[in-house]
């Protein structure tokens, strides 16, 4: 069952089948949601491609996106704390992109109504780089950047 489900989703044409499975009550909506993973976006290697794959081709710079608990200089690139708060109304998702990593996209957080539009996590950075927070709010895209210096790279060089 698990194998089949995964293959259905990877096949690309899986959406309708997934819908059928949902309708048939084979999958709980929650499980189905947990299954989606935006392979196209995670496989991109340039800033424009990643933003495009996420749906935000030309995001507007925003001062309402704030980094917190995020260092200017990270001694260990394997563990860099990143906190992002979006003060933009109707924020729906926050993505973290690291420009000089082999794959730019680190994480996408979908934020339902009722959850504060602020998340904090830890990421790996191969080298000093700009880190972008891409926010989708009310269907529009906004971006903010922070330059983080890395003393020791974290992608196992």
């Amino acid at each position: 069952m698990n194998e089949m489900r995964r293959r259905l989703i990877q096949s690309g044409g899986g959406m309708t089948l997934l819908g059928l499975l949902l309708a048939a009550g084979w999958l709980k909506p929650e499980e189905a949601q947990a299954q989606t993973w935006n392979k196209a976006a995670f496989d991109t290697h340039s800033l424009t491609d990643t933003m495009k794959a996420l749906g935000g081709g030309d995001p507007a710079q925003s001062k309402d996106i704030v980094f917190f608990q995020t260092p200017e200089i990270a001694e260990n690139g394997a563990v860099v704390p990143i906190g992002v708060t979006s003060n933009i109304p109707k924020t729906e998702s926050i993505a973290i992109l690291i420009e000089k990593n082999p794959n730019l996209l680190a994480a996408v957080f979908d934020i339902p109504t009722g959850t504060e539009t602020s998340i904090s996590t830890r990421v790996k950075m191969a080298q000093s780089s700009n880190v972008y927070a891409l926010v989708r709010a009310d269907g529009k895209y906004y971006v903010a950047a922070k330059d983080i210096k890395v003393t020791l790279g974290g992608c196992g060089g």
Partner: protein, 103 residues
């Protein structure tokens, strides 16, 4: 089966803060072993957090999230004793769900 997550959920005022530490290698697929063979990527792809069965956060992760991932966020409406459940699934299809109650 991976080790249990460490979850803390506490309500302060009208918002509940959830902090979680997961146990996972988060292998990037970029590293090579002593024989020069690439170590295959092995990482958590999906995370979902529910409060009394209602989704309060869902995430998609790539290989750049650190080993033994940490995540923290806040949501409104939680009360002491409510159930918080966190599930992840990795790119090998391994899954883990852990629960706690709001303190």
């Amino acid at each position: 089966m991976a080790d249990p997550m460490r979850i803390r959920a506490a309500t302060l005022g009208d918002s509940t803060e959830v902090k979680v530490l997961m146990s996972h290698e988060m292998e990037t697929g970029q590293r090579k072993d002593a024989q020069g063979q690439t170590i295959p990527a092995w990482f958590i792809q999906n995370v979902i957090v529910t409060w009394n069965g209602r989704t309060v956060l869902s995430a998609q992760w790539g290989t750049a999230v650190s080993k033994n991932p940490f995540l923290s966020f806040k949501f409104k409406g939680g009360a002491k004793g409510d159930k918080i459940a966190i599930s992840w699934m990795d790119n090998r299809g391994d899954k883990r769900t852990d629960e706690t109650v709001i303190a």
